[in-house]
Every structure is written in C-alpha cells, then in structure tokens.
C-alpha cells in the first residue's frame, strides 16, 4: 500500500491536506476519550490508527466523518468545517464511513444488490450509474454470484466486503474504515486488503484512514498513528516508528509505546510447554452433525481433546465453529453423531456436567445492567458456590483477572478487552475443568490479548483446565497445543501448529490455513458450480480524477428522491418479514371480527332469577313477561332471603325479581303492590341497561294488563306514546356502531407501535449510522421511515373496510374518498406519534411499551369509541381533543353511519393534519443526526 514519497505526512502542508484536525477533545460524561489531538491527513494518504481498546480510535473516526458531534477543537474536511451542519452535508458525498462491527452498515433482510443500491441512492446516484457501479463493485469483490443472497446470510468476510462495496459506491475521496477486519478469518482478511490495495491503485487521490487491532495490517500503511489515553503517542511511517522504539516488528514497538516511562516492557508472551497425555480425553466428538433445514452447518466433525490441553479451533467465518461449540455445551442438540464431555454424553438436561464447564460466547453476554462485581456474584451463586465462599471467591477472581479497579463499573462503560476479561473471570469462577471459548479475543488489542492468553496459560498449565478456544489470530493459534482447521462444516486438518506447518511445507501457520481453505474452496467450486474469484484489478470504482466530480449537485438534489430511498428500503424490509406483514394486516382483520362480534352493548341472555313469595296467577303472569323476553335467561328460582344475596354476590345472577306475598290480591284490589328489582351493580353501565330493560318489560306487562282488563285501544296508564327512532342505525345493531370505532382503534395502535420500533431498532442495531454519514436530512429520514408504515396502514384500512362492508354488512352512508382522505391524515398522525415516541426512548423495548401504553388510554377511553365525546368534560375532554383518535372517530362515524360529506369533515381533517405536522416536526427536532 505504499504510495509515492510526496504523500508523507510530515511533508503534507495544511493547505493541501483535505483533512485537518486541530485541538480536538471529546468526553463521554467524565471519561476523556480524546484530549487535544491535532492531525493532518494528506490527499491520497493511507493511514492506520492503532491503540488499545477504548483510547478513542472510533471516536476520532466518527468525528472525522461527522457522524459524531464535535465537542472541542476544529475539524475541517475538504475545506468544510464539521461543526457546521450545512458544510458537513456538503462534504458528506465525498466521505465514506464503515462503522465497527461485522456488517454494521448492512440491512440483513436486504439482498447483496439491494444493500449496495440503497447506499447508492442515499448519495443520489442516477439509475444507470447505480447499475454500472453495482456491477463493477460486485465483480471486483467476488460477490457477483451472490447478488440475490440476503446480507444476513453472508459469512463475516463476505459481509465486510459488501460493507466496503456500500462505502465505495459513491466514489468517495476519503474512505474511513473502523476495524474492518475484526472477527474476519485470515483468508477473507487477505482478500479484503488486496481489494483495498487495488482500489487505491486505481484511485490514487483517495485518502484512506483505518483503525485496526491487527499490527500486520497497520504495517501495510504509509503512516501509522498510535493513540493512547486520548493522545497521539507516535505518528509517522512505520520505519520511523520502528527506528524510534528500536524494535523489529510493529507488534513489539506497539508494546513498548503502550508502556509508561520507566516501566519495563513485558516481553511477548510465550506459551509454556506441556506434556501430552494421550488417551485422557476431556472432550470427544464423533461424527457430530447439525443441520438447519437443508443447510448443513456442521458435517460429521470428530476430534478428541486431552485433559489440560489448549485446543484451538480455526476456520473461515460461518464454517460451523460456533455451532460445534454450542453442541458441546448442550445449547444446541446435535442432528447426528455424539459428543462426550468429561466422560459423559452431552445432554442438554444434565446439570452436573454444566457445573464442570465454563463458556465464553462470541459476543459479550453478561448483564450490562449489573456491575462487574454483581455479575460475578450472580455467577458464583448460580454455579452453586457455598454461601460463605461467594464473596472471597469473587474477590480472588477480581484480583486474578485485574478487575479490582473496575469492580463497581457497569460493563458497558468498559473497553472491550476488559469486558472479555470479565467474561473469562465469570467463566472460571466455579473452577471448571473445561473452558469453551468462542472467539474470546475478537476485536481486542494485542496487549490485552497477551494478558488474556497469560490467564489461559495459567489455567491450563497450573490448574489442568482443558481449554477449547476458537480464534482468527494466527499468533494465538500458534500458542495452542493442537489446532483444528475447519471449513464449511468439515474439519480439514488437526494437529500441533508446528507439525501442520512442517507437513504442509509452508512458511507459517497463516499460509497453511490459507492454502487449506483455498484448496477446499476450489474443490467445492468444482462440485457446486462456478464462483467467480475476486478480480482485484477490475476494482476501479471510477477512472475519473476525484477533483473533477461535480460535488455541488448534492446540495440541490430532490428531497423526494431521498425520502423514496429510505421508504423503499424500509418497505422491502417489511415485505420480507411475512410475520410482521400478516400480523399488521390479517391481525387487524381478526381483531375487527373479534371486536365486531364481541363488543356488544345489548343485553342478551342475562341470568336472572325470580323470588316469588306470592305464587299466584298474577305473579305467574309477571314472571312470564320476563321469561318471554329474549334479553333475560331464567335461572333456578330463589327459595329464601339468604339465597338472594348469596347468588348475587357470587356473580351467578345479574338480576333478581322479588315478588311480595299478596301481590296478586293487591293488584286486583288496585293497591299497587311493590315489586323489588334487585340489580347487580358491579358493572355500572350494565346495571343501568338492565334497569332500562326491566322498565320496558314492566311497561309491556302493564299495557297487557290494561288490555286484558279494559279491552284494546284503551290505556289508562300511559298518557302518551313515546316513539323512539334510532337515527343512523335503525335496528340498533352493535356491530354497525362498533365497527368504525374498531377501525379507529386498529389504525392507530398498530401503525404507531410499528413505526416506533422501526426507528428505535435502527438505533439499537447501529444502521442509523448510514443516515448520519449521508447527505440526507433528518426530515428525509423521518418521512422515509414513516411512509411504508402509512402504506401498511392503508392496506390494513382497505382490508378492514372491504370486510366490514362485505361480511359484516355494515352500512356505509358517506363518501369513500372523504373517509380515505381522513384515514390517510390519521395514519400520518399515528405514525408521526410513533416517530415521536421513538426519538424519546433509547431501546426497542421502551418504544413498544411507550407507544402501546400511551396510545391505549386515550384511544379506548377518550375518543368517543365507547362513550360519546359530547358527554365528556374537563380533563377527559382535553385528553380526547389532544389526541388524534377522537378526531378520526368523528370522521369514521360520520362517514359510516351519518353519511356526512367531505365538507363537514374538514375541521377534523385539519386537526389530524395538524397532529401529523406537530408530531413529525417534534420528532425531527428531537432526532439528532450526529451521535454525542
């Protein structure tokens, strides 16, 4: 990666340096990440930034690309200050940023081609240009045959190549890569850097800045900057640094730089030798196989590991290492084959074996919300340490793994290396006989990795612990007693590292690894059809010199196309998730059916009983009046006074009709006997309805009485004839009245929750960085996020409407276009509310909870769904008016039942539009494009 000497940083003049950082400082709370850093980066330079975890490498890169907000100092990129939003957006099209972590800028449900296309659209490339660059980049990276594969199904190495394609698609002049090869296997790593080299050859003007934990990678760069404690401790060409420190390799030089003045430098760690004890197996696997559907992740893997041995597991990304380890721990059942751990077959249910095993998973899997000490205490207790031993053992472990000073910190505040040490401490706490470690040092800096291996050596050599560890680092593999090479679910070779090198006649272990993998790839290519090999020399993203590019056009490209870019991506993601789609549309439909049938305010089959203390013909007539009504459902008659209270209290009866003794005689005498009507008042609304129905039954009974006594046409009792007419719903059918309300309820609950999770999820996963690094505005992003959910809402509305009309036969008196306009505005307000919620919370969990809880109360209670708005006053009325639901309820009821025209709905339409504008506006103001 050498470039001509005039690109040397020391000779770079500020004037022609495209990237200038002056006095940059950055803090997170009270932690200082960067302290007065001043650096210039020349055009076309290639720079590697090295340093231990948590010294501010990622912070610096984030600041350079404008993804993080500048706190102190000044950064100018291509003449524009990163402090000013406008300038930042202006230069954004010339920058590319690939965040730390495997495929962090990718969307797992999108295909390879769609991911690149999304990034191309993000920078406003025209369709023809997009297609051309897509072809070129995919061919160059060898991803062409996998165009239609979803990013989530790619191996780690392929993910990183795809990430690079996405970063390069808009022909940037500054490429910033944050630890791009962490967690990537050596072969993929080599291919990745070859790719970068060839791209740089084609585009000499491009500046490349990377952060890395691999010293051999840093050595490929013109200039190396070492950071420690937020400061630059060394800066210059590799040769200069080596000369200055007097070390032979960068790894050693780095070690020296990391030490404080006067400290003796710990020598590179050398693994003490071990005497083999063949036959004394701690772990043995025979023909272990695991399939997921038709994909075979692990294919007849067999190996045996001696007690006290350190057994290394190497292999390409996605070759089945993790799956094998999971099978050994009992997390995953094996499809075929068997595994033995400490003499007994691995069985997910066998607790006693688990007590003898410790496990460290690939990613940090302890609790971020518990302190370091609390995490260890929890482990000690769950691993059944005697109560008296818990505290001393935890203290001992804190000391042994150098965690004493961090005991009361939360893991999320610690650098990766220390977090991994904590994981190891937790796994060793119960003094296991076997340790299973899945890439425990991925992303950890060399110094911390050495420390980690010192601990492993102690455990193996002193305590006789068997260690089964997977890694991508060759120097770690060399320290293992024996290693196994794995590829595509199969074991390619097993043996002592030195032995394998000797057998293959290779220069070193990395060469063995790569040749084995290449041979296996070639073999599988022969059987599985053509796989285009990477063609680095065609990797030119553009042959035009970067300076001649018309960057200014980014300023004015249409917001609409940017919104479409975000909306399109989100839409594809929703369409790819059949569960979400079906729950959003069919789930709504199911709820309409349930609520349409289920929510009913009619009294039907109301359980009642009669307490007849008269037993006369007249009392019998009164009883008949009740039993003849379909509203009431007679239960066994009541015999004594106590039964009344008891049966009402048990909830068995909702109504008791108590007829007094002498009822018949009194009636005939005209002495107006008193019938007691006892109603269960637990449900107040119900009690009133029952009261009303009883009144109706009694009036009918009285009319019948007078008819019998005085003949037809004569009524002495009813002075007038009250003729009710149920407007808008003549038959007074519950489902007709409920349906508009159910539509109102569903069209806010589901779209708002979906949208809220949508934004919170991007933030939690980290793909929001794509937006931060792009020239798109917050409004573009927000509205783009929102539109697909509005579309889902519209689909749901059309389904609900059709169903209500066709199957429920709900009458529709109004104008369909007028209702649809209302629905659209309502959905904009509902999804806007979701956006607002998502900007106020940090996690997806909180987003769901907040959206659901904040929506349910006003929609169910204060919208006019159950009780009419006109009868509400005070707080309730205001809560109702300040939430979109009540306004849409007016539109829905007006359209379905009342046949109100578009003109009468304008006030509600305007209110809904106002909500949409306020919600979206507030969300846009609250969402910060940059990170802190």
């Amino acid at each position: 990666m050498r470039t001509p000497a005039n690109d040397r940083p020391d000779e770079a003049k500020s004037a022609d340096a495209p990237v200038i950082a002056t006095g940059v400082g950055h803090r997170y709370g009270s932690t200082v990440a960067l302290d007065d850093v001043s650096l210039n980066f020349a055009g076309g330079a290639s720079v590697a930034i090295i340093g231990p975890d948590g010294v501010g490498k990622s912070t610096l890169l984030g600041l350079l690309t404008g993804v993080r907000r500048l706190q102190r100092g000044e950064i100018s990129v291509f003449g524009g200050s990163m402090r000013e939003r406008r300038r930042r957006d202006d230069v954004a099209p010339r920058l590319a940023y690939m965040p730390q972590g495997l495929g962090r800028n990718l969307y797992p449900t999108l295909t390879v081609a769609e991911n690149v296309d999304f990034h191309a659209r993000l920078f406003g490339l025209a369709a023809s240009e997009r297609a051309a660059r897509l072809d070129r980049l995919l061919t160059a990276t060898g991803l062409d045959p996998f165009r239609q594969r979803r990013a989530g199904q790619l191996s780690g190495g392929m993910k990183q190549k795809l990430s690079l394609c996405c970063a390069l698609v808009h022909d940037p002049d500054l490429l910033v890569l944050d630890e791009p090869t962490t967690g990537v296997d050596p072969l993929s790593r080599r291919q990745f850097w070859d790719l970068i080299d060839s791209i740089r050859r084609q585009r000499a003007g491009m500046t490349v800045i990377i952060a890395t934990a691999y010293m051999d990678e840093a050595a490929r760069f013109d200039r190396v900057i070492a950071l420690d404690d937020g400061r630059v401790i060394a800066d210059g060409p590799l040769a200069d640094i080596l000369a200055k420190t007097g070390e032979a390799t960068l790894e050693d030089a780095y070690r020296r730089l990391g030490s404080r003045d006067g400290e003796t430098v710990a020598p590179a760690f050398v693994m003490p030798a071990r005497k083999p004890e063949p036959g004394n197996w701690a772990i043995s696997a025979a023909g272990l196989t695991r399939r997921f559907g038709d994909f075979t992740a692990v294919d007849h893997v067999s190996f045996q590991i001696e007690k006290g041995e350190i057994f290394g597991f190497l292999g390409s990304n996605g070759c089945g290492k993790t799956t094998t380890m999971k099978m050994l721990t009992g997390l995953l059942p094996a499809t075929e084959g068997s595994a033995e751990l400490l003499g007994s077959a691995v069985d997910a249910g066998d607790i006693s074996v688990r007590l003898r095993v410790g496990y460290v998973s690939q990613s940090f899997s302890l609790y971020d919300e518990l302190t370091v000490r609390a995490n260890l205490m929890l482990h000690a207790r769950l691993y059944r340490l005697p109560a008296a031993d818990v505290a001393p053992r935890v203290d001992e472990s804190l000391k042994r793994f150098d965690l004493v000073s961090h005991a009361d910190s939360l893991p999320s505040a610690l650098p990766l290396g220390i977090r991994q040490r904590l994981q190891l401490a937790a796994a060793c706490l119960h003094r296991p006989e076997v340790l299973i470690l899945d890439e425990p040092t991925s992303g950890v800096d060399p110094q911390a990795r050495d420390d980690f291996w010192r601990h492993l050596a102690g455990l193996s050599r002193n305590d006789g612990v068997t260690i089964f560890v997977s890694t991508h680092f060759m120097n770690e593999a060399e320290r293992c007693d024996r290693i196994s090479l794995m590829h595509q679910g199969r074991v390619l070779a097993v043996g002592a590292p030195a032995e394998l090198v000797r057998q293959a006649g290779a220069a070193n272990l990395e060469a063995v690894f790569i040749s084995n993998l290449e041979a296996a790839e070639a073999a599988s290519r022969d059987t599985k059809g053509p796989v285009t090999a990477p063609q680095p020399d065609t990797a030119a993203p553009s042959s035009t010199p970067p300076s001649s590019k018309p960057h200014r056009r980014w300023n004015h490209f249409a917001t609409a196309s940017m919104i479409w870019t975000f909306a399109r991506r989100e839409g594809v993601e929703i369409l790819r998730d059949p569960v979400r789609m079906s729950f959003a549309v069919l789930g709504s439909l199911l709820l309409l059916v349930l609520f349409g049938y289920g929510i009913s305010f009619d009294v039907k089959n109301l359980p009642y009983a009669v307490f007849d203390r008269d037993q006369s013909i007249e009392s019998g007539q009164l009883i008949d009046a009740f039993s003849g009504s379909s509203y009431f459902d007679a239960q066994a008659p009541i015999r004594d006074e106590q039964e009344v209270d008891r049966r009402l209290a048990s909830g068995e009866l909702r109504l008791v009709v108590s007829i007094p003794p002498g009822y018949g005689a009194d009636l005939l005498k005209g002495a107006r006997p008193e019938v007691a009507i006892l109603i269960d008042g637990a449900n107040t609304f119900r009690a009133e309805t029952v009261k009303a129905y009883v009144q109706g039954v009694v009036l009918t009974y009285v009319a019948q009485l007078s008819h019998d006594r005085y003949g037809p046409g004569v009524s002495v009792t009813l002075p007038f004839d009250l003729r009710p007419r149920y407007a808008y719903n003549q038959a007074f059918v519950s489902v007709d009245a409920i349906t508009p309300g159910v539509i109102m309820l569903l069209l806010i609950l589901i779209p708002s929750a979906m949208t809220a999770v949508g934004v919170a999820r991007e933030r939690e996963i980290g793909s929001i960085t794509n937006f931060s690094a792009s020239p798109a505005s917050v409004v573009d992003f927000m509205i783009g996020k929102q539109l697909p959910y509005v579309a889902v809402g519209v689909a749901s509305y059309l389904t609900l409407f059709a169903f209500a009309r066709l199957f429920f036969g709900v009458p529709f008196a109004g104008s369909f276009p007028a209702l649809s306009v209302g629905v659209l505005l309502y959905l904009l307000a509902a999804t806007g509310f979701g956006l607002l919620v998502s900007t106020l919370v940090k996690t997806q969990v909180a987003a769901i909870m907040a959206a659901a809880i904040l929506c349910v109360v006003p929609t169910v209670n204060f919208s006019g769904f159950i009780n009419p708005m006109s009868s509400m006053d005070g707080v309730a009325r205001w809560v109702g008016l300040l939430f979109p639901a009540s306004w849409f309820q007016t539109i829905a009821i007006g359209s379905f039942a009342k046949g109100v025209g578009a003109l009468d709905l304008i006030r509600s339409d305007l209110a809904l539009a106002g909500f949409a504008v306020v919600f979206i506006g507030a969300a846009c103001l609250l969402l910060d494009k940059q990170e802190a």
Binding site: G651, F685, L699, P719, N861
Partner: protein, 375 residues
C-alpha cells in the same frame, strides 16, 4: 428443590436490577397505575351523564315546559329548544344525542287521554348512551305526565310499583367501575409487554444463551422473570388500589384485601407466563410488538369487563375462556364490588392458576426450541 428456589431467587434479583436501570419503563409503570387510573376513573362515564338533548316544542304548553325542565344535571345537559328544520344538520355533526318532538296540542291530547305521540330521535352511533338514555327519557316523561295529571285530579298511575335497587353500587357511580377496569387493563398490558420484552432483549443481547449454559434450567429462568416482574406489578397494583382507588378516588372497595392480593398474584402469574410464551413465538422485537398488541387488546376489550361474556356469540365465549383476564374480571368483580369470599371465587382462581401453569410449561418448552433455530 432447594437449588431450584435459590436459582430462581438470584435470577429474580437480577431481573429487578435490570428494571431499576430503566427509567422510562419505571415511568410507564407509575403512569399506568396512577395517572391513567385517575383519568379513566374520573372521566369515563358509561352511564348516562351530560347527555345532550334538544326539544322541538310545537305545543309550548305548561306540560311540555314542565317536561323540558325535568331534564337536569348530571344526567342531561340543559335541553335546547330548536326548530324542526335544524334537527338533521345538528344530529349529523353530533351536537345532540337526543331530540324530542312534542306535536301541537300535545297537552290537550294528554288531558283527553288520547295518547299523543312524542317523537324521540336518538343518535344510535353512541350505543352506550342511546339505549339507556331512551329509558331515562321515558321514565322522566312518565313521571312528569303522571304528576301533571295528578295535579289536575286525574289518576294516572301504573298498577304496580317497581322498586329497583342496585346492589353493591347503589348510586351507580361509574368511578367505582372504571377505576378498577383501568387497573385491570394496566395489569394486562404491562405484564405481557414487560416480561415478553425482557425475554426478547435477553435473546437479542445473547445473555439468555449464556444463562442456559450455566447449571440453570429454562424453567428457572422463565419463573424468575415471572416472579420478579410479577412482584413489581403486584406492588404497583396494590399501591394503586390503596392510594389511588381507595384513598384518592374514594371508592369503597368491598372484600378482603388479602384475598385481592392473592388473586392478583395468581393473575399476574398467568399473564406474565403468557408474555413469555408470546416472546418465544416472536423472532424479533418488532414481531413481538405486533403479536402482543392483538393479544392484550383482545384481553382488555373482551374480558367481560366492559361487555359481559354472556352477550357475546357462543363461539367467542368459548374462545375467550383461554384468557386469564376473563377469570380475573369474574374474581375482581365478585371480590371488590360484591364482597365475595373465597368460597365464592375459588373457581376463577383455580382456572387462572391452571392457565398460568399451562402457559409457563409451553413457554419453557419453546425456550430451547427458540435457541436452536438458526439465526
């Protein structure tokens, strides 16, 4: 067994710590059990309150004036006299819930015993008020007519007297009902979302996998979540019951407090278990959200709380029997309003425990299945 208890205990403590570090979640819990309950209790009126009524009076007699004056607060807002031509438009925009029309010479016809017709137009889109309001209006008009006729020396009385007496809530105060209803609703929403989301979060962060490698059983992990989150919600529900419902809203709650706690504990066990079950069926947080919403809205609206079970179609009644909320409503209504004792409410308690155990058993089974999926 001792091991089991110890593991569950420490895992539950861990759950509580996680919750403590989440201020938004704590805020939502406090809101759902305080402000939400107060708002709903003081404002949701399912009974006839503030009903809007208009009168088209073409008689303008003493009797019609008397009848108009009889519509009083809190049941009705003061009636407005309108012209017949205004009625349709006013109803369309929802200004009036009821419109009474007295025909010309109404009073004279009543005095002559001709039974003149009174037109009553009811806005049926407001179902809740429409039915009951009609009965109110009928009874008010009857009383006024009878008094009027009696004052003129004409006997006009029903041959029987009905004496309605409402048990457990004699003045039909909606507050009593709606406060408890919202309390139940808050419990349902929070218990399902809180526990379910906790499971998904552990899964997305890989911590649950780590737990399963330890000498801990899936059932212990699940039970710890049920217990810890259940305990938090139990405390919240109890505080809400004492401070908000009894003290602030002044609802005279019947029944034993111990029994309420006991029943609520069982209910929380069943709903939190259901939350875990839903979480094991979802693959991601967005999916969980979409699955949980239909579950809890159905449990809220069809629990028999607002609309009694017996009014639903039979199939639906049967289907709703898998919902613990149906039994909790039976239990809480029996206990809190009717002052029922354990011998009257043991059945719903037993069924709730059974459902909870069933949910938890299936959720535990799904746990391992969930982890063995390729992802």
């Amino acid at each position: 067994m001792r091991r089991f208890v110890i593991n569950v205990f420490y895992l539950a403590i861990k759950e509580l710590w996680s919750l403590r570090r989440d201020p938004i979640m704590l805020f939502l819990i406090v809101y759902a059990f305080s402000a939400a309950v107060v708002m709903v209790a003081s404002a949701v009126k399912l009974e006839v309150v503030n009903a809007t009524i208009a009168i088209v009076d073409e008689d303008r007699s003493q009797l019609t004036a008397r009848m108009a004056d009889a519509f009083v607060a809190p049941y009705f807002k003061t009636p407005e006299l309108v012209a017949r031509s205004e009625v349709d438009r006013a109803m369309d925009v929802g200004r009036y819930g009821f419109v009474l029309e007295f025909p010309p010479s109404f009073e004279a016809d009543v005095l002559r015993g001709r039974q003149p017709a009174i037109g009553l137009t009811i806005d049926a889109t407001a179902m809740v008020q429409a039915g009951n309001g009609y009965a109110y209006i009928q009874s008010i008009l009857l009383t006024e007519a009878a008094n009027f006729l009696n004052s003129k020396g004409i006997e006009a009385q029903l041959p029987i007297v009905t004496a309605p007496r409402v048990y457990f809530n004699p003045n039909i105060e909606g507050r009593w009902f709606s406060s408890i209803m919202q309390l139940v609703n808050s419990i349902v929403i929070l218990s399902i979302l809180l526990v379910g989301a906790a499971v998904i979060r552990e899964r997305e962060h890989g911590t649950i996998e780590h737990l399963l490698v330890m000498p801990v059983r899936a059932i212990e992990i699940a039970l710890a979540k049920v217990l810890a989150n259940g305990a938090v919600l139990l405390v919240a529900a109890e505080l809400s019951m004492e401070l908000v419902v009894r003290w602030y809203l002044g609802v005279p709650v019947a029944g034993s407090r111990v029994l309420f706690l006991f029943g609520t504990t069982i209910f929380l066990f069943s709903t939190t278990s259901l939350g875990i079950l839903v979480a094991t069926l979802a693959r991601s947080m967005p999916q969980f959200a979409l699955m949980a919403i239909p579950v809890f809205t159905t449990m809220l609206l069809l629990s028999g709380n607002m609309t009694p079970l017996e009014s639903m179609p039979t199939v639906l009644q049967w289907a709703m029997h898998v919902s613990p909320s149906v039994y909790y409503v039976q239990f809480s209504q029996g206990l809190l309003y009717r002052g029922a004792t354990i011998d009257l409410v043991w059945k719903p308690l037993l069924i709730m425990s059974g459902l909870g155990a069933l949910f938890l058993a299936y959720a535990t089974y799904r746990f391992r299945l969930m982890l063995s999926r390729a992802d």
